[in-house]
């Protein structure tokens, strides 16, 4: 079960690393996998290793202290670090390495969408926010656009709140609504995977719980990878959890395992609140 079975046990029974392969536990196929991923900001190596496999229709959470590299890792997955950092290694999306220069990143990002920490709707109407990416792809049929707007807003659980003001500016919405609008905008292009970079960190508790409900519904259609600072959030919504520390994924397992019986001491300290 361990990728790295030779990992030595320390005296008190803790492992140094524990990365499991979800395909051995679940029947779900693996949609995204990284091999020997290294990320450099200039000479500074931000990610040393992160060999993780993400199963389809599951929520995988990346947790860890600030500066542990979880956001850097996530942003590398759909090449948002292009031009900012150097990413080496393989990123296998359904078996295809997308971390190659000849890959069309624009097409790839349509399949691997991203939602950011800070809600970032365009200063356009709600309707235009949702249809932005489709219009760039040459979809002009009003019927199709209307339908996509409705279904994606419904999927993001924000339709009832905005259906009467689709032509109003998206910036007039509350922070929580803006973030769900950003999710709706991301799923309007029907991606395969959704990457979320601390999507709830700027939201109040009520908005956060709405967002979490939304994510739980969305996993039926999408594979979700979420970076979060909030361990309770990871525990509530995720199926798998990876613990990052100092640019390295130290433990990756089913969420229940990570939070109740972690095998790496640092993970245990972190989830117990001893540091981070």
């Amino acid at each position: 079960m361990l990728i790295n079975p030779s990992s030595p046990h320390s005296d008190d029974g803790w492992l140094d690393r524990n990365i499991v392969d979800p395909s051995l536990k679940d029947q779900q196929p693996i949609v995204l996998e990284t091999k020997q991923l290294h990320v450099y900001y200039g000479d500074n190596e931000a990610i040393h290793e992160g060999d993780l496999k993400f199963p389809e229709h599951k929520i995988s959470a990346l947790i860890g202290p600030s500066g542990s590299g979880k956001s850097t890792y996530l942003r590398s997955l759909n090449r948002m670090n292009d031009g900012i950092a150097k990413v080496s290694g393989e990123i296998l999306y359904r078996g295809v390495d997308v971390n190659r220069p000849e890959i069309d990143v624009y097409e790839m990002r349509r399949r691997i969408g991203m939602v950011f920490q800070r809600p970032n709707p365009f200063s356009k109407s709600i309707y235009d926010n949702i249809t932005f990416a489709l219009k760039r792809r040459g979809v002009t049929d009003k019927k199709v656009l209307d339908e996509v707007v409705e279904t994606s807003l419904k999927q993001a659980a924000i339709w009832d709140e905005v259906k009467d003001k689709l032509k109003k500016s998206a910036l007039a919405l509350s922070g929580g609504q803006q973030q769900r609008l950003c999710i709706a905008r991301a799923i309007a292009v029907k991606p395969d995977i959704l990457l979320l970079d601390e999507p709830a960190s700027a939201l109040d508790p009520v908005s956060t719980s709405k967002l979490e409900e939304t994510l739980l519904k969305l996993k039926e259609a999408y594979t979700i990878i979420i970076v979060t600072h909030n361990m309770q959030q990871a525990a509530r919504i995720s199926d798998y959890t990876a613990f990052f520390n100092m640019g390295r994924a130290l433990e990756y397992d089913e969420t229940a395992q990570i939070f109740t019986r972690p095998k790496v001491q640092l993970t245990n300290n972190y989830v117990a609140g001893d540091f981070g």
Partner: protein
Amino acid sequence: MNNKLQKQLLKRSKAAKLERWGKTISFLALMLITVTVFAIIIFVASKGLSTFFSNHVNLIDFLTGKNWNPNVTNSKGQPEVGALPMISGSFVVTILSALLATPFAIGTAIFMNEISPHRGAKILQPVIELLVGIPSVVYGFIGLTVVVPAVRSVFGGSGFGILAGTFVLFVMILPTVTSMSVDALRSVPRYYREAALALGATQWQTIYKVVLRAATPGMLTAIVFGMARAFGEALAVQMVIGNAALLPTSLVSPASTLTSVLTTGIGNTVMGSLQNNALWSLALVLLIMSLIFNLVIRLIGRKGAMSK
């Protein structure tokens, strides 16, 4: 014990005195500038308006008359002070040079800020700062020796005229409009670009549909600022426009602007005479126009702030 504390608290400390001094000095500086600006406006207005009140020139005739010859009295017994040739000359060179400069400025700004920020900052930024700093007489001189002969050989005529003025002004306002456009692009938050890129938009789609849209108020401000500069520029234009107070009929025939008539004429008139007052009226028109440009810039800024 309490008395002692009270004494200590009531006594002004050195820091508090210094604070008062600082406030007083900066307030005086502000007052001085405000008084100066208002004094200029009042002076120009009183001089400029005396054409209409003391010399009884009709305002409509002044703004729409086509003949500028303050020494001559026309058939109605009124001096010929029709400012339309200069007003239209000023507007034509301003609008043409802004039209010419805008695409170049926006293109350069996009290159500097979006496409190649590194090289942009290293090479183009100093070049643009240098261009801003070149004195206008140098531009005018280059216009006279290079642009005018070039216009003459390509389009015919004397070479002096609106077209030569437009080219010189284009080069003069280009750096201003460019650097302000760069500022406008720079103020578009990074997360707008990230949002568009993460949705699979290409870089050009991101620039065109998101960044430029968000930067529109700033861009418009840059263009209006450039226009204000072009409208007020005197020396370089005067050197290449031909200085004939005629209604412009073609781009290559000699014409004049408000500023060029002012700079050539103001030294040759007697203070208080009609000839002199008429020039002050032109100065008043200039002043009002630059106030309007300023107002437009402020309106755009406010609208931009609201849509954010």
